[in-house]
Amino acid sequence: MPAIHVRGLRKSYGAIEAVRGIDLDVEEGEVFGILGPNGAGKTTTVEILEGYRARTAGEVSVLGHDPARGEREMKERIGIVLQQTGVERYLSVTEVVDQYRGYYRKSRPVDELLALTGLEEQRDQRVKTLSGGQQRRLDLALALAGDPELLFLDEPTTGFDPSARRGAWDVIAGLRALGTTVLLTTHYMDEAQVLCDRVAVIVGGLIVAEGSPDNLGGGTSASEIRFALPPDTGADALPDLPPGAKVLVEGDSVLVTAADPTHALATLTGWALGRGVTLPDLTVARPRLEDVYLELTKEAAPPHEVAAP
């Protein structure tokens, strides 16, 4: 049985339909990412799964529980990092972490939680003196206090500097290694690419694409070979490429897209070596998740702007 099972999920706020029929399965031990622009319905979906919001329609199961019932049994087994949450600002990191541990039947020791989130040096600091990144790590420490099987992370690294983001990624990768199932939302494609086993792109309250970050584009994701024309070589001198490869020349820069880059590349490099020239600035790249995402969110943009509640 999957950790999260969703069928036909809908959520309306008055006349506005924020979630318009979502199906989702997150397997145990998987890191699953929900991507999408602001107001696409990401947070609404996640907050329904966490039990904060009632759904309008559909079937939802989280670790075998219906989150709408607010069952304690479910809350014992999940951890939640919300987008913005506070704690008592005048208490120390250790005091707060220890208090939240006490809410769970089964909990991780304080030292382990601080080590996991890299807060050992701040253990005696008052919460209000922590930096933004440290407060976010405290959020994570509190979410992990009950040693959850399933962790919800709503934009866990928004506002982080690049090194803090790497640090957070290491923590999440470490949790995955420990077998924790993770459902995260993010704006950052590199984050999804690094962390997620699978991602779903939500636009206008609907999932418009789902798959591993590398295969999200489906069959259309051809590789791209780029280089500059060698000196004194015209575009018409380029060799015939294997079927399926497309050539685009702009000035003296060349872009070849090919589903099978090995063949095209062999033809191109053989041609260049035969002429005794090099291919300046040669690169081969798979399209980045970001490109696929931008393409998807552009195509599937809803006719009307759906406001996030």
């Binding site: 809350k75 949450t85 506070g86 008592e88 005048y90 005091e95 208090q99 939240y100 809410y103």
Partner: protein, 256 residues
């Protein structure tokens, strides 16, 4: 850990948080004590002829104890709850397995601890500095009024916190809802000469009955055990009203 132990642990946690936050501690504690010293000193030695010539401090010290209880229960719980909701502390707590009743018992318990500290301090200052006669034979009435008063004003405080749209609005709403009543309820000065309609209005609300219940226990003319049934009955009714309103109005999240 049992839920009862979680609630007890929450009391300790809230007390720690309360005392570490200088603004909250000062507002709750310093105001009643300041009024006690100012009004007590201004009127020390005075008597109240309309009340059989009892000394002013015999009337005033239990009045300030009532004010302290309102400050520690009503104002304190309403502000803390509104701010905790604003900071989304309540939303975070709701995502954990802690039962709502255990968490809220922790809040209420912490307010009761603060009330005990504040009322004890007020009465001690009254006895030591202003020479108020502490009557052991009416302790029953004193304790009963304090206990019911704490329940009543914690419930009303939780209810009013639900009326605050956000933490910024809380101080205005909370103070505006209680200060007019405090002034017309005979806490700072006897209202014996006040217009009767004003007294009738004040009679409807719990502040007057809390103050009167405590003053009754200190009045030298009162017979043991000093329990004023009429005042306790009104407090009990308001406790029920407060609890019902709190259950209806309490929110874990601000509406967005």
């Amino acid at each position: 850990m049992s839920d009862l132990a979680i609630a007890a642990r929450q009391v300790r946690y809230e007390q720690k948080a309360f005392w570490r936050n200088p603004a909250a501690a000062v507002f709750t504690f310093a105001f009643p004590l300041m009024f006690l010293f100012i009004f007590g000193s201004l009127n020390s030695g005075g008597t109240i002829d309309t009340r059989g010539g009892i000394t002013f401090v015999t009337f005033f010290v239990p009045g300030i104890a009532a004010f302290g209880l309102i400050s520690a229960c009503y104002t304190n719980i309403a502000m803390r709850t509104a701010i905790a909701r604003d900071l989304r502390i309540l939303k975070r707590v709701k995502g954990t397995p802690v039962p709502a009743w255990a968490y809220l018992s922790g809040q209420i318990g912490s307010c009761i601890v603060t009330t005990l500290q504040l009322v004890s301090l007020t009465l001690a200052v009254g006895v030591v500095v202003f020479g108020v006669d502490f009557r052991w034979d009416t302790v029953g009435g004193l304790v009963a009024t304090l206990a019911l008063g704490a329940a009543c004003f914690c419930a009303l405080g939780l209810a009013v916190s639900g009326l605050c749209p956000n933490g910024d609005a809380a101080p205005a709403i909370v103070n505006f809802s209680i200060f007019p009543l405090i002034f017309v309820s005979g806490i700072f000065f006897p209202l014996d000469g006040a217009p009767s309609w004003l007294l009738s209005v004040a009679e409807l609300f719990p502040v007057q009955h809390l103050a009167n219940g405590l003053q009754y226990a200190f009045d030298p003319r009162t017979a043991a055990p000093g329990v004023n049934g009429g005042d306790l009955a009104v407090l009990a009714v308001w406790t029920v009203i407060g609890a019902v309103l709190a259950l209806r109005l309490f929110k874990w999240e601000n509406e967005r």
